[in-house]
């Protein structure tokens, strides 16, 4: 077990003015496997922040801890200056979350699910109905609003989960792999929605494997590998002269430089 308490004295305080999301010394181990190894991260308010890293880097674990789903072993998280684990309800009111690899209440229809998410947040019925209507239209789900979510395709399921995350107009939106299995047209629509949201002062954090997407879409990026932040800042600071993908490979390593699978060549000669 890593002794996380050793980090405690060196942990800097939360920044002033408060960032949309500030993480200090956040750590989590499952058994003997350290998933997140004391990371620090500042997501400025109004930024479109990309979180990239190889599989198993600790992205989902970090985001779960930052949104109050998973209790950290050590460290602190603030959303707009509110301590997430000390004032859970207050912090969750500010945050919208699209988790990855999590089921939905899929025996509800799409419309019922988004309505449910709104009512759970304590919103009144008319506001919920109005916003559900707008969200389903914007995400091109109006035609299937009455279909049970269990019968949705993978892409539609992502979109309805996104709608459920947006219903209470959060100030911070945390999206774990939002574009997985979403078709290109829907993905473009979602990107437009997110850009409008950022332009109006909201903050978005997306995790993704797709470097091109992050480079085009985000203004800030953090590279995480093996539970540690390798680089963080504006996209231009992080990538320098390289493309984000090349810089990512350079940081994370792991490319095979050998000639590869000789026998896989289907030479005609």
């Amino acid at each position: 077990m890593t002794d996380f308490s050793a980090h405690a004295p060196t942990v800097p305080a939360a920044p002033r003015p408060p960032a949309a999301l500030a993480i200090r010394g956040l750590a989590k181990a499952f058994g003997s496997k350290v998933a997140v190894n004391g990371i620090n991260l500042d997501v400025p308010a109004g930024s479109f922040y990309g979180l990239v890293g190889p599989n198993g880097a600790g992205k989902t674990t970090s985001l779960s801890m930052a949104t109050g789903l998973l209790r950290p072993d050590a460290g602190q998280v603030w959303v707009h200056g509110v301590d997430v684990w000390a004032h859970q309800l207050e912090a969750k009111r500010l945050t919208g979350l699209l988790p990855d690899g999590v089921r939905l209440f899929d025996r509800l229809s799409g419309e019922q699910l988004v309505t449910y998410a709104g009512l759970l947040r304590g919103m009144d019925r008319d506001t919920v109905a109005h916003r559900v209507h707008d969200l389903l239209a914007a995400l091109d789900l109006a035609q299937d609003a009455g279909t049970l979510v269990v019968d949705y395709s993978a892409g539609m399921t992502k979109k309805i989960a996104l709608a459920a995350a947006l219903i209470h107009a959060p100030r911070l939106l945390v999206l774990d792999e939002p574009f997985e299995s979403v078709d290109p047209v829907s993905a473009a629509n979602i990107r437009d929605i997110l850009h409008d949201y950022v332009a109006s002062g909201g903050t978005v954090i997306v995790s993704s494997h797709v470097m091109d997407l992050v480079q085009r879409m985000c203004d800030h990026v953090a590279v995480i590998a093996a539970g540690t932040v390798l680089a963080a800042g504006t996209v231009d600071q992080v990538r320098g002269e390289l493309s984000l993908e090349d810089r990512f490979v350079e940081l994370v390593g792991g490319r095979n430089q050998t000639a590869g699978l000789q026998w896989l060549r289907t030479s005609l000669g």
Partner: protein, 527 residues
Amino acid sequence: MVAHLLRLKIALLRNSLRRSTMQSVGLAIGALYGLGILGTALAGLAVLGTQDPEVVGMVLVLAGSALFLGWLIVPVVASGLDMTLDPARFSTYSIPMRQLLAGLALSGFIGIPGAITLLASMGTAAAWWQHPGAAAVALFCGAVAALTCVVASRAITAASASLASSRKFKDLSGVVLLVPLVLLGPITTSLTAGVQGVRDYLPDLAHTLSWTPLGAIWAVPSAVAAGQWAAAGGKLAIALAALAVLTWIWKACLAKALVTPPHAGNLRRSAGNLGFFRLFPASPAGAVAARSLTYWFRDPRYSAGLIIAPLLPLVFAFASSQAAGGGSTGVVLGLGGALAAFLVVWSISSDISYDNTAFALHLGAGVPGAADRTGRAAAAGILALALGILYALAGAVVSGSWALLPATLGLTIGAVGSGLGLASVFSARFTMNAPLPGDSPLKSKPGNNFSAMVVQFSGFAGVGVLVVPELVLATIALAGNRPALGWISLATGAVLGAVFLAAGLRIGARLYDRRAPELLLAVSADR
């Protein structure tokens, strides 16, 4: 390749045990139980061997046919009972069909039901210890019979797979097929009443069965013992032909399944139907109640309970009318209603396990513990009270006595209130390996039920203690025909039920607020 499939099955079994000790304990208990059955069967067979060959042959044919029927019916009832080697998962590998069939068939023997069937079938040789020739034949025939059992159940599964891949069918069949299971008692009572009259008919039945695919293989040794070589050859031919036909059906269905991806027929439905969400107040608690109530009707894991519980009072009433005549039927209906109502409310004790990771929505939205507990309890409470009161009224009508209605009502209300209270605490404290969303209500992984059983049992015992006052009062009122005590029972049930409900909701809410992230982590382990 066949060996690979067998190794895969063993590895899957071993890894599932490695994930939790409780699963190993459960499997060990299952294995002991199976060994017990096997031992009893073998001893019984050896004792049977002292009888005349005709009697031995008759018993074996009847028992063997029943075993065979069991293997045919169980996979239909419990769709996906054991899909660890689901053929659909092999569709991307180019495994030659012949080897895939052999591997899947043999892997059916790895696991308690398959292994016990194989050993018991070959153990029929023990019944022929007076006839060594027949015993040798029985060894071979037992192996063939066990193989036929496995192939038949696989063929049925594969044949129903295309049907079963439609969600509506899966939801419906899992629930509807439970009904005959619950009514098994009354059905068998009626059947045995009929059969006792025609006990003389059994030898004829066995004789007929022995010429059908169901019983042929079991009849071969007795034909050998009797020296009827032509009959023995004919029956063996029937059995082998049946095995061949079943294999062919299985192969055909499998070949079709491997190239047909599961398809969900989609009817597009636009917005406008909010269902229960319209009826409940627009608050977090109201939303949770509306969602839970929707699940009681739409999720087969809940609706199975909702269908079984109302049948129980009928079963009890039937049993009591058999045992004690019609006099007590009304009382039994009312008391059975109280039990049914309790069973409905108790199912929310594993509510969060049933949510599985969908629970993340509650956690992410910061639903207060009080709202979560109250909403879930309200949905189950509405259903349980309606059910209990309905049966209390039905009991009063049947017995023609309204004076004792308060006694039954008191017990029902007390059981619902106390049950909801304790279940609200339990579901915030314990999670268990419940069937996953979308699975059949009957599905269970090998041996995962032991810890669940311990929790369930302590919960039952706890509620039993909580309802002692109204139970005693109601019993004295009903047994001694003292309506005054019935009113006291009603008052006690209402007061204690309300108190325990309020206390349970409070404690549950506090536990929930403290442990919600841990609950999500616990249910995430099982997905």
